[in-house]
Subunit: 341 residues, 2 copies
């Protein structure tokens, strides 16, 4: 019997534009052994998220770049397979940031224990994790939706957008989701209870969005940018709020679009309609973690919130899955099942 290997994905090169398989490299190294005070973690679930594209670049961003040759970072749910740490025992399931690899060591400081009885542990990477909390704090603390207002969100079938729409619905808003393709749009209406859904691949997307928002838009939760933002901006009401959470349509951009320069138009819209745009990342709102888990955990138990996972098997398939995520190929929270529990 040979020693087990730790298969991992490292950043092979910085992509220019759309990442390709050649930007990643699969390596296999010996599984490390925990020193006193450490645990050995085996990855069960790896979360794939749009922000990872930013970490592959060295441009200034809200996340630090990953060095070429380093393991791709990412949130994981892992099981403790060996422990030299007094606080953790073999078999404990934890939320951690092991990244794109099958095994990792930890000194325990970055771990949060999960209760598999409370909810499926994969939800700690989705509806009850970073994406869920992103939706919660961005919508409620920045968007501040009021009953009767119209809330629009793009990437609405994804883990952030789907929760934005459902929370807005719970708060009494008219909810309009934008997603790619008729299947996702049906899901928004039939499963998630959105009031309207618009397919961003429809050539008449802007007109359909306008028709879905007869009273204009009061909160636009910005996940994507690009053509969707162009369609949203003219519909924003006076005093509309725009939490800016992501711009996935631009993450593979290699330059600026051709002219004219429309940035003065945007500034004039901000002035004339007294818009509020505010960028955020979930870590800025760590103080709300308890409120988030209480509220969203409660809605989930009451059946008022649904979620969907899109599962890919095997760490070796993570690169292609991330490439697809940036093109909207996933349907629901994208997870890599690295090992069975």
């Amino acid at each position: 019997m040979t020693d087990p290997l730790n298969r991992r994905i490292v950043l092979a090169s910085r992509p220019r534009g759309r990442p390709s398989a050649a930007d990643f490299r699969l390596e296999a190294i010996p599984v490390p052994q925990p020193a006193p005070g450490q645990v050995l973690l085996r990855t069960l679930w790896l979360s794939l998220d749009p922000y990872m594209r930013g970490r592959m670049s060295d441009a200034k961003s809200y996340v630090d770049p990953i060095a070429v040759g380093d393991v791709m970072g990412g949130g994981t749910v892992s099981v403790v397979t060996a422990s030299q740490h007094p606080g953790y025992a073999e078999g404990d399931i934890v939320l951690c940031r092991s990244g794109w690899q099958e095994y990792a060591l930890s000194d325990g400081t970055d771990l949060r224990r999960l209760d598999p009885e409370a909810a499926p542990v994969s939800t700690a990477l989705g509806v009850l994790g970073m994406p869920g909390m992103t939706a919660y704090v961005g919508l409620l603390s920045i968007g501040e939706p009021k009953p009767g207002e119209t809330v629009v969100v793009a990437a609405a079938a994804g883990p952030v957008g789907s929760l934005v729409g459902q929370i807005a619905g719970i708060k009494g808003c008219r909810t309009v989701g934008i997603a790619g393709g008729p299947e996702k749009c049906r899901y928004l209406l039939d499963e998630l209870g959105f009031d309207a859904a618009v397919d961003h691949r429809d050539p008449a997307m802007a007109e359909r969005l306008a028709a879905a928002c007869p009273d204009g838009i009061d909160v636009y939760f910005e996940n994507v940018g690009g053509a969707v933002w162009d369609a949203v901006l003219p519909l924003l009401n006076a005093f509309a709020r725009v939490p800016v959470c992501g711009l996935v349509a631009h993450y593979n951009d290699t330059g600026l679009p051709p002219g004219p320069d429309r940035s003065p138009l945007l500034m004039r819209a901000i002035l004339n309609r007294r818009l509020m745009l505010r960028g955020f990342i979930v870590g800025d709102f760590a103080a709300q973690a308890d409120a988030f888990r209480r509220d969203v955990g409660g809605w989930l138990k009451e059946g008022r919130i649904r979620y969907r996972e899109d599962v890919v098997d095997g760490i070796e398939n993570a690169p292609d899955a991330l490439i697809g995520l940036l093109e909207g190929r996933n349907f629901g929270k994208l997870l890599v099942r690295v090992a069975a529990a």
Copy 2:
């Protein structure tokens, strides 16, 4: 003796780009007589403000357009010359909105009585009026400056910018003013106590602004747009706040600048640096009028705030003065002395 005439300026045509004298027309009509319940007002001071350019256009804006042929609107300080209103007596000085004319009628609903003993009555159009309150609410309620932060304001020798800088100084911030020409810059430093001043006509403006802001910019009070905004954006710190109050550099624009389209850059900056941009007009904050008058009135009495007026004599000179205002020709709060008190 002939009956007195009411000389007034009407909008003759909608300007395309920079307004010209031909867009205004001086008329003289009989002075009206007050009916029961009315007062006749003689204009003493007319305020000229950048927002007036917006009202000359029929483009959608935060102000309604003036109809061609109508009297140009505007805030005034006037004296009651005849009263059929029980609440007002001949000689009362009031704040009103008579617009660009020597006489006007009022039923009293739009009047606020001024106390000439408390402060020069012209200040009701400047430091203690709409421009002053614009600075106060925009800086404090949207900018939320904290001691030690860097606050930058353009058009800093004007009535809004000069107060933004002085209030920020009172709040313990580093204050950087941007103004046109060495004389205005000296005024910012020597008279208003700004920590640094940058001449926007200096070809090295962007470098000088960066040098004046060694710790970046935490609050940028946006009055102008254009090249100043381009210089400010790269210097904004994470979590910077941008109250968007005006865009005077763009008010005479007839189209968009050539490409590339930089609006995605702006959205990415908002996301990556978690910026907050928010447009506002002073009327949105009417509830703060008492706090404004108490605070700024107090600072003025204590000598902690200074102001400067730029006075033009005669209603017939208002058009040229407004054209100059849009080019930064004024130095201080621009007022037309329509009649002596």
